[in-house]
């Protein structure tokens, strides 16, 4: 029986394994050095915050794997030998495969800051990071202040985590406003305000110069690049992005036969079929890099959903139905402390948007609620929407994007797309009134209709 080995028990590897099992009887082995069972990385924060125990982050009970005949192997793969079709583990054990899938995820970026390997300096990615954090920042007596470097999604999660245990947090963000490489200005500003509202010491346009050690090799303070200010602290969180976790692949490269090595750039290079340059070796999830970006997407997409989609797709190929990876419309979501964020389609920030992309922005006068709708200047075609504090129906936006609706249509039928819980105040009227004012239109909001929502596209 064909033996498929998957390195990585994250969402991409596990989705793949599940789907292979649904479609075939192949032997499946998942290898991971991190944990025995698949857990949800996105939920790590909730364990530290006391919302959940670690076992709650595991989506499947432990009998699941046996029942579905998915072998789990714990161990660190040091080398891949594509010629012998074999893996070598750090303890020199070996494992042979017929097909190999690399789903090794990411690791936190470190940019060579002085002191970046001191005790008390950590990223937030693996389960071990969580344990490390628990050790160095169990409460505000042991950790009197934490400094977080890097203003992305993981940075703000880490800030929220520490804040939940009343640990004072200084949050260093390189950009002039939080995440404004991705978010349009109005939204980014609202998040700045919300961070401060939670008593987190947000420092914009601020870079880290170095991390200072005490006599025991522990963090003592950080020094700011711009001002030279020294901030005493016990923990430093490095959250300046992630990059593919593929050092062991790079180490496996044999200079004698470069054509036999797995080709990498920042990530493992794959074609649209998620195949690497080596036959029977594939890569999915955070560690895969598309040779050519798909649409507006980045070549490496380190998000949960794309890992899952790649897993769903590759399973088809491995089970004999070779299909291209063709992700649909972009969507994503996150939560900035108390503010939920969802996005469908593309809304670019001022820093990266084209001139033809226009934005309509509405913000609630008091609450942390706002939306931004992007549309084309010439054709009025709806391009995407960001919502904060309002939940939207994925299905409806996906349909509108497919049908290439214009922005007026989206405004008119906005109520169909609302996904807030029952009894929530709806803001379609205010939103549309503002849109009408700005655009000299006379769009009348339509009432929500089940018939339209359930209509077959």
């Amino acid at each position: 029986m064909e033996h498929i080995v998957i390195i990585g028990n994250g969402i991409s590897g596990v989705t793949l394994a599940r789907h292979i099992r649904k479609n075939s009887d192949k032997e499946i082995t998942i290898v991971s050095a991190e944990t025995d069972y698949f857990f949800s990385r996105t939920a790590l924060m909730y364990v530290y915050m006391g919302h959940m125990k670690f076992e709650h982050t595991q989506p499947y009970e432990s009998w699941f794997w046996k029942k579905n005949r998915i072998n789990l192997k714990k161990g660190y793969v040091q080398q891949v030998d594509p010629k012998k079709k074999q893996l070598v583990f750090s303890n020199n054990e070996t494992l042979s495969y017929d097909k190999l899938v690399l789903a090794t995820g990411s690791k936190p970026n470190k940019f060579g800051w002085p002191g970046q390997d001191l005790k008390g300096v950590m990223g937030l990615y693996h389960k071990q990071d969580l344990e490390n954090l628990e050790k160095h920042a169990p409460n505000n007596k042991v950790c009197k202040r934490a400094v977080i470097v890097g203003g992305g999604l993981i940075g703000i999660e880490l800030a929220e985590m520490l804040h939940s245990r009343n640990i004072p947090v200084t949050f260093l963000v390189r950009e002039t406003s939080f995440w404004n490489g991705v978010l349009p200005a109005g939204e980014s500003e609202m998040i700045n305000e919300h961070i401060k509202e939670n008593h987190i010491d947000l420092r914009l346009s601020t870079n880290l110069k170095e991390i200072v050690s005490d006599e025991n090799g522990r963090v003592k303070s950080v020094i700011i690049e711009e001002t030279g200010e020294e901030i005493p602290c016990d923990v430093v969180g490095l959250t300046a992005g992630v990059s593919p976790n593929i050092d062991f692949i790079k180490n496996s490269e044999t200079s004698a036969e470069p054509s036999r090595s797995i080709e990498t750039n920042r990530g493992i290079l794959v074609n649209r079929f998620l195949e690497t340059n080596i036959k029977d070796v594939y890569a999915i999830g955070d560690c895969a890099e598309q040779r050519e970006a798909i649409g507006n997407r980045r070549p490496i997409e380190a998000v949960w959903y794309t890992g899952r989609m790649m897993g769903e797709t590759l399973a088809q190929t491995l089970c004999g139905n070779r299909v291209e990876y063709k992700p649909g419309h972009w969507f994503n979501s996150a939560k900035f402390i108390d503010i939920e964020y969802q996005t469908y389609g593309w809304v670019f920030s001022e820093r990266s948007k084209k001139d033809t992309e226009l934005h309509f922005h509405w913000r609630h006068p008091k609450e942390n609620i706002c939306i931004t709708v992007a549309y084309d200047k010439d054709t009025n075609k709806f391009l995407g929407i960001n919502t904060f504090g309002i939940r939207m129906r994925h299905k409806i936006f996906d349909r509108w994007l497919t049908e290439e609706r214009d922005v007026n249509h989206v405004m008119e039928y906005l109520a169909d797309a609302n996904f807030d819980p029952e009894f929530y105040r709806a803001y379609e009227k205010e939103i549309i009134t503002k849109f009408n004012q700005e655009n000299n239109t006379n769009i009348q909001p339509r009432k929500k209709s089940w018939k339209r929502i359930f209509a077959k596209a």
Binding site: S164, M309, F454
Partner: protein, 540 residues
């Protein structure tokens, strides 16, 4: 703010201690003529009980309730033993006439209940004489303390939003020693209330003035329970309002359960009683209201004229028409988390414990076996009872009517719904009864699963499998298992509390009532991926 909380906690615990301490106070005795009057009132014909009761209750000594109770119970025992011996003797002598005569002297009833009735009349002391003051020292301090403990959260929790911080880090909510202490207190409370009510007769004195004001009569242990129930729900609802203030569904729903508990379960029955009508909770549907078809209830209703008949008809319409029709349109939630008293307590007092429900597949299997067995049990009991009521027989299908009623009342009514259902909140979660035991929930669940517009819609591909929804589902539903597959949640046990939707950090879940078609939507490839692939795989 922290200080206020701590002061509140101390005040609350003081109130609770005084409340508990009152049990041990007071002295219990009657004069001989009072005992005589009691015997008259009860219509006891035996001379033995008269002698025994006078000896036991009309004592010079200062008896506390425990001594009093044991003496009174012993008196009943002695009397019954005496006649049992006579019966045995006449039986041996084959003196049937004499034997038959003795039965009229036997006294039936639970010993603690008999003792309660007498104790209620016999109590004297500081608590009884100063009921008003003791109300303040017990209920008053409890309420003030609890509110002082709860209200500062408005500030301490920070901006509105899901604040489950620390739930698994604290002893009270993470099955630590505090949780076990609470469990022991609650279980003891229910055991005493159900099986040894005479021990807490002092509590009834504290509420006599309120009871007299409401219905003209003195407070019984059930009045104490009902009153306490309302008070706890009101105070804990304040906690809900603060905790979930960003979520209007929770706010409205909490208001609704409060309203139904206070008005329907408490006030209306009291007022009806004061007007001489049978006190009836108009929202309590059979078979949760398992004794609705018991003889004594049917008798009492049929003797109460028009209002009795109305209640009888209403009770049947409620169960047979209103319940299923409402479930069709709104799901089981309209009852379980908007109206029901058990649900009301679970959603207020029980909210801090909701995460303890067991999410394993095993638990789900056990749930289906248990809850449907209880439903069958309640129906069989009712059929037997009704048959016997109308035919005058003692048993039906080989089942003795009295026996099955007693067994059900004891096992399901008292132990399952009370002692385990509520007592075990801190360890097994707040809906043990609703999930595993309630026959009405089983019935509502069947309708919800097979014929309803209600579902929890999963928002396309947005789930990140974080597990918040499953963790906080009080009914032990593994919500994530559906959400991460892009599949709607249609489960008979879902009470529609809406917490899964509230705690989801990605806006994945929405409780809604929509067209039945497409409600159940198994998916393998989620929205967001290749449309052709979705078509290929999902339509297989």
């Amino acid at each position: 703010m922290k200080a206020i909380k701590n002061i509140g906690l101390i005040i609350f615990l003081t109130g609770l201690s005084i409340f508990t301490g009152t049990i041990f106070t007071g002295s219990f005795s009657l004069t001989t003529s009072e005992v005589e009057a009691f015997i008259q009132e009860k219509g006891y014909k035996s001379d033995v009980i008269r002698k025994e009761l006078i000896k036991a209750a009309a004592s010079e000594k200062e008896l506390n309730i425990f001594d009093f109770s044991s003496r009174v119970r012993a008196a009943y025992q002695a009397s019954n033993d005496h006649y049992d011996a006579l019966i045995a003797r006449y039986d041996a002598e084959k003196n049937w006439d004499k034997k038959g005569e003795q039965y009229q002297y036997k006294i039936y009833g639970k010993p603690h209940t008999l003792s309660y009735e007498l104790a209620k009349k016999a109590g004297k002391g500081y608590v009884k004489d100063n009921a008003g003051m003791f109300w303040w020292l017990t209920f008053g301090l409890g309420i003030i303390g609890a509110l002082l403990f709860i209200l500062p959260n408005f500030v301490l929790l920070g901006p509105a939003g899901i604040k489950n911080n620390g739930i698994y880090l604290e002893s009270a909510t993470n099955r630590g020693w505090i949780a076990w202490l609470v469990l022991i207190y609650l279980v003891s409370f229910y055991l005493v209330l159900y099986f040894m009510a005479d021990y807490v007769v002092n509590w009834t004195y504290i509420l006599d003035p309120i009871s007299e004001f409401l219905n003209g009569g003195q407070a019984s242990q059930w009045f104490v329970y009902g009153f306490l129930y309302c008070v706890i729900m009101i105070v804990m609802a304040a906690r809900m309002y603060i905790k979930y203030r960003h979520n209007k569904y929770q706010v409205v729903r909490t208001t609704s359960v409060l309203f139904f508990q206070i008005v329907f379960a408490f006030l209306i029955p009291e007022i009806m009683a004061s007007l001489g009508a049978p006190g009836y909770d108009f929202k309590n549907a059979f078979p949760l209201d398992y004794d609705f078809f018991f003889e004594w209830n049917l008798d009492s209703l049929s003797q109460s004229g028009a209002i009795g008949i109305f209640i009888l008809v209403w009770g049947m319409i409620l169960t047979l028409i209103i319940v299923p029709v409402m479930v069709y349109f709104f799901g089981k939630r309209w009852y379980c988390s908007w109206v029901c008293g058990c649900g009301g307590l679970a959603e207020t007092l029980g909210d801090p414990y909701r995460q303890h429900s067991d999410k394993s597949l095993k638990a789900w299997k056990l749930e289906r076996w248990l809850i449907h067995s209880v439903l069958v049990f309640s129906l069989v009991m009712t059929i037997v009872t009704l048959y016997c009521y109308f035919s005058g027989a003692q048993s039906f299908l080989g089942i003795n009517s009295q026996w099955i009623k007693d067994t059900y009342s004891f096992l399901i009514g008292a132990w399952f719904a009370g002692v385990i259902g509520t007592g075990f909140y801190p360890i097994f979660g707040n809906r043990v009864w609703c999930r595993f035991g309630c026959p009405l929930a089983a019935y509502l669940g069947l309708v919800q699963r097979f014929k309803s517009r209600f579902r929890i819609t999963t928002n396309g591909g947005q789930c990140i499998s974080c597990g918040n929804c499953s963790t906080y589902c009080e009914q032990g539903i593994d919500v994530r298992a559906y959400a991460q597959k892009g599949e709607n949640i249609v489960r008979s046990s879902c009470v529609g509390c809406g917490i899964c939707s509230a705690v989801c950090p990605r806006g994945v879940l929405k409780l809604e009532n929509g067209p039945e078609q497409g409600r159940i939507n198994p998916t393998e490839i989620l929205l967001g991926n290749d449309v052709d692939l979705m078509k290929l795989v999902n339509q297989k």
